[in-house]
Subunit: 417 residues, 2 copies
């Protein structure tokens, strides 16, 4: 723990870095431009050095030299092998997780499967903080499932959180499925996974969590929370690379009861028998469809390894310290400049990103990127979103970003955008 | 043209190589082991040297250095940009083709879209030569679409071809969609695209071709044949790498009439407005779903460029010469050893692979791989499949492979497997 008291200066930031038990992990990443402050690791994580090596091996040796033989030398098992590693990040058994397709396609597969497994129930409950692509998938899936189905979108009164009470009101005996983002993409609000899952189960609904903004930033305990289904992204805190394939989780006792709606050869029992009739494979395999994108998939594993080495308890502890630190800086120097905190104050209900709203948010964000060498993200209408990735974000990064943000506002540099 | 007459010897093979106008393209590929004869380019194409360079750039510069900015510097447009290049391989307009997902997922999207656009029609016609994953996708899609739907699988009497007469009998006013593999994965039989498409259109059915075993091996003229829909694979003759994302084609006048059933944010109009209601984007964009797998996608473009440089007329001419040559060798030296030709004799109805059946096919294939440094493919029950990729397969490869095959049989080397 830091022995100094909070001060909004560079020395204090350096003292926090000096005491950071995860500091050494920064060197595991390619950081070629020391002046760039990258606070968008929750959109696209940085490139691990090990992934450069691993990808060369996959491209030049496996594809280039082993050719088709590489399928039997590791590629066929890759969706399950990498899935089993991700299982350790999310509190699942190794045979409950697969890497495949995109988060959206995986969500589609699991939602359709859940609806078919819940005959007589005709609503799906989600919330207005969910990632829009998830809402689109739900709208499309329900349209396909039939006119009797209805999507209930629980609103957020403050744009930051959703109360358990309003969720509880929406969930009833007609609910087939409750599906939410565990950490909200805009505000960073984190649901109580155990409590909400229990709420769904009390009325016999299935629970599906989108873990995209949580996985790799905090421990997740799917099995302990008795979660039924989950999906998630690998290119944020897992650092799996642009558009890396996503993962899906199906609790083991549900696997044989659920049917993937997209029947492809990788989900087929005894795939190379080439039978003309589809027969779903055993266990989690049935949730695969087509040929896995091996290059993109291969980049995921080194990122997972780094998180397992760091330990998710450590990662979460640093994430909380860093978001707390950013919020202290906001209070001290940004609030007076007109910034609002659009993320929860309570660290236990907050993920690893912090959103700051400002009436000039869009133009300030442009100025940060174009002139100040800071890369945050912008989310409409006025949120500048700062993603803190504990494996490589330093306290000095955070301090320096806040100082540059001050400069943009004080010198009114945003006005030209 | 070769001035020598066919002779089953190495000198004749060398003379064919010496006169091959595409010979220089072999040097565009990574070929590290000169003794390995690779005849499985129709399962996984070889690694183009340019792809090694391109992938390094994408990984180390774009992901490593440009980070999130790379999305606006080329990644967002990649599915359309690479799609527009593939359009030139298949006789389509640039705005009619996208790279996305796997062939199976793309097929699912287009089949569901086609069924919804054809109310009142309740059958889908395909054939028993189609790739099994396509049949599985159809079975799953029809199950989802409702109990009124029926899949008609037209049989093949010889396992090599399907007659137009038996297709014509199966297609009628109830047919919503006809969907076939243009080149059959096992026998290499190639349908007459114009004739079959016209047959479907005469009764008001839509026509969807799976081009996986055709694209990059022959010119395809989707627009000239008035084809409605198509999908295809990029990791065979396009040499896009293991599990590279697939492509889909929707004829431009159909795009606004059809709806992708999997509604994701990359298909959404004004994606970054993050509206809560799905609104399909204009034109071909609506057939995207989730985030594209950028690393795997990036490896496709150099492969397409090589084919465009070689010219598909030249590629097809060499492919025919090479499959003809292999069949002459079969007649001369393999038929007497008990091999049957399980591909069409007529070059105009044959793709770029040749299947040879043998009662000991499975064990012979094992011996070729384990002892003889030849990599063909095996397709049950007894087919050894030789894929000839005109950009890098030499006549000497073919001759040498046949000689090694003779050795395996004459010396009964397969008996130990």
């Amino acid at each position: 723990m830091n022995t100094m008291h909070f001060r909004p200066d560079a020395e204090y930031a350096r003292s926090l870095d000096a005491q950071d038990p995860l500091a050494r992990f920064r060197d595991e990443f390619v950081i070629d431009d020391p002046h760039l402050i990258y606070l968008d690791g929750n959109s696209l994580g940085r490139l691990p050095k090990r992934s450069v090596t691993r990808l060369r091996e996959v491209i030049e040796q496996e594809w280039g030299q082993r050719l088709i033989r590489a399928w039997n030398e590791g590629w066929f098992g890759a969706p399950q092998r990498v899935g089993a590693k991700i299982a350790r990040l999310i509190g699942a058994a190794p045979n409950e997780v697969l890497v495949s397709d995109s988060t959206s396609v995986n969500l589609f597969k699991l939602v359709m499967a859940a609806l078919q497994a819940q005959p007589g129930r005709d609503t799906v409950v989600t919330d207005a903080l969910n990632f829009p692509s998830d809402l689109y998938i739900l709208q499309g899936a329900l349209k396909l499932a039939g006119p009797q189905y209805r999507l209930v979108i629980v609103p957020s009164t403050d744009g930051i959180t959703v109360s358990h009470d309003s969720l509880a009101e929406a969930i009833d005996e007609r609910t087939a499925l409750v599906t939410l983002s565990h950490t909200a993409f805009k505000s960073g609000y984190v649901y109580d996974m155990a409590a909400v899952t229990a709420m769904a189960h009390r009325v016999g609904a299935l629970m599906l969590w989108d873990l995209s903004h949580s996985v790799g930033a905090m421990p997740i305990t799917l099995n302990a929370c008795e979660v039924d289904l989950a999906v998630g992204c690998t290119y944020k805190y897992i650092n799996g690379g642009p558009g890396a394939p996503a993962f899906l989780y199906v609790r083991s006792d549900l696997q044989e009861r659920l049917l993937n709606p997209i029947w492809g050869w990788f989900g087929q029992r005894d795939q190379f028998d080439f039978a003309l009739e589809y027969q779903p494979g055993p266990g989690i395999q049935r949730f695969l469809t087509g040929t896995p994108t091996i290059l993109s998939l291969s980049a995921i594993e080194p990122g997972v390894d780094l998180l397992l080495e760091a330990g998710l308890e450590q990662v979460r502890a640093k994430s909380i310290r860093q978001t707390d630190y950013l919020i202290r800086l906001w209070e001290t120097v940004l609030q007076p400049l007109g910034f609002r905190l659009n993320s929860p104050r309570d660290a236990s209900r907050r993920g690893s990103h912090v959103s700051l709203g400002h009436p000039e948010g869009f133009r300030i964000d442009r100025a940060l990127i174009e002139e100040m060498h800071v890369l945050p993200d912008f989310r409409s209408p006025d949120n500048i979103r700062f993603g803190l990735a504990p494996l490589y974000t330093s306290y000095t990064d955070i301090y320096e970003a806040v100082m540059r943000l001050c400069t943009v506002v004080v010198e009114r540099r945003y006005e030209k955008y």
